[in-house]
Symmetry: C2
Subunit: 329 residues, 2 copies
Amino acid sequence: MRFSVGIDLGGTNIKAGLVSELGEIIQDIITPTNADSGEKAIASRISHTICQLINRGNSFGVGLQDIAGIGIGAAGLIEPVEGVVHFSPNFAGWHDIPLAGLVQEDLAQNSTNCKISALPIVLENDGNAMAFGELCHGAGVNVRNLVSLTLGTGVGGGIVIDGSIFHGSRNAGAELGHTIIQSNGRLCGCGNYGCLEAYVGRQYIIERTRRKIVAEGRYSSLEGNLNDLTPKMISDAAEKGDEVAVDIFVETGKCIGVALTSLAHILNPEMAIIGGGIADAGETLLFEPIRSELKKRAMDTNADSMRVVKAQLGNQAGLVGSAMLVFQN
Amino acid sequence: MRFSVGIDLGGTNIKAGLVSELGEIIQDIITPTNADSGEKAIASRISHTICQLINRGNSFGVGLQDIAGIGIGAAGLIEPVEGVVHFSPNFAGWHDIPLAGLVQEDLAQNSTNCKISALPIVLENDGNAMAFGELCHGAGVNVRNLVSLTLGTGVGGGIVIDGSIFHGSRNAGAELGHTIIQSNGRLCGCGNYGCLEAYVGRQYIIERTRRKIVAEGRYSSLEGNLNDLTPKMISDAAEKGDEVAVDIFVETGKCIGVALTSLAHILNPEMAIIGGGIADAGETLLFEPIRSELKKRAMDTNADSMRVVKAQLGNQAGLVGSAMLVFQN
């Protein structure tokens, strides 16, 4: 059995795991990113975490010779071959940071076992890493062509074509959260109007709920919680039949269904995988409205080709996917 | 030098050409399709045209041994490997018609030189064939990743990834005219609302022009021609400074720019090639509004990656592209 180290480098935490090629997480570590501490400090924290995991692996009978490499997933525009972060929404000052190289240097200087620094390091966009994780060990096993959306503060995207991550000509493809659904619509964080993300990002789901209750004056069990609303509270209320909350998820599902219609017409994938916290709202609240909108809008072959399913790896998709990148080549 | 036969099978005409691998059309023939005459009759007309071209080629010193095969482009859902038309907007009754096989059978029965029927026949969606023609010998030479839009009655689409035509999981991808730009927008011919095609298809360009003049009461040099308007008349008027006509093309360009923004975010191609009659409106009227909308909306890397250019092969892109399919494998 072979193993690899997967790193999900977020703005808040570094999640790291020692993962078998079957996708089992043998050991994992979560440590704060300290996003404003500079690239060298962050590379050093990653490197330290890698050494910890490899040392722990030893006590589980996983030797260094069993470890094929290290995969790192990070948000932003990533150059996978060179291991460079061109820019990242999580690290304000970063431009063209050779992250893979920095981690490797730190490993060479500080790891007690210098062979750790000889392990190959693969860097990837986190949306792509998640899609790849689901492909290898989640909802997309046995699928060759898929798109994935990860719903959170923003909307991450990934595309797999013929079993491989699709990058686009300058590694800037698969920004599926910025598929336009309404050209004269809401301002998105990216500066464009009407992107999917502007409609189904966490903040707007909360804002729409408040608006229905306050501005439209509708009754809702959530009206006592208007200042600390979360998508989880809204989906809990929806499950109990709160009509405002149900409407919020139906609307969210319709917006996702519109974006998936364009993706079905453009890419004709076999599967769309929806993950992230909001996907926990589940089949009736979220997935049925998505599928119904897709069925209504997309051409038959395109709609029929594409199963819409929930991500299976939860918030470990990034970690597992990053680890699996090592086995890709 | 090697040659192939390219066929652009339209609803009205069969355009066929004997084409060199450099993309030169040595001989061409246009003959009516007679779309309602049934698949066998149409296959027979195609087969007859192929024999005519090959015979004519002989008098130009192109022998049968110099011809690598036959490529056919047709609208609709095409299975390229099996050579089957699943359905086509141009041939109402067609379901799962093995067109390549029917042509080959007819060649075997009727060609004076039986070796013609041994030539391989490649079938492809016409939007894909056009994109491939532009890639091989048009605006996309030296480009590896591109999208193409052909503006006409409908909007055809093609995607090239890493030098190859992209088909999607069931050959239903690259339906770029059905990228949604406005989810609550106009009803499209496909049954969906807000597709690009619903905004920039020939009929709506004419309808919008009429509306500006009649319903909005704006002055236009076109007001004497309201019953027989064509996009060409509108672009001619725009070139002479007619404000209504200029507005029509600016609006058309903006709609295309919205769709290209989604395509830039999803596919991050190096180039978007715009062809078809309406593209003749040219740089100032059409391409500048497209580029300006893309620049305004798309993320910098995605916009900067993608050159927006006019198709170079005009209405021969389908014929040349179909011919080049033979050399693809």
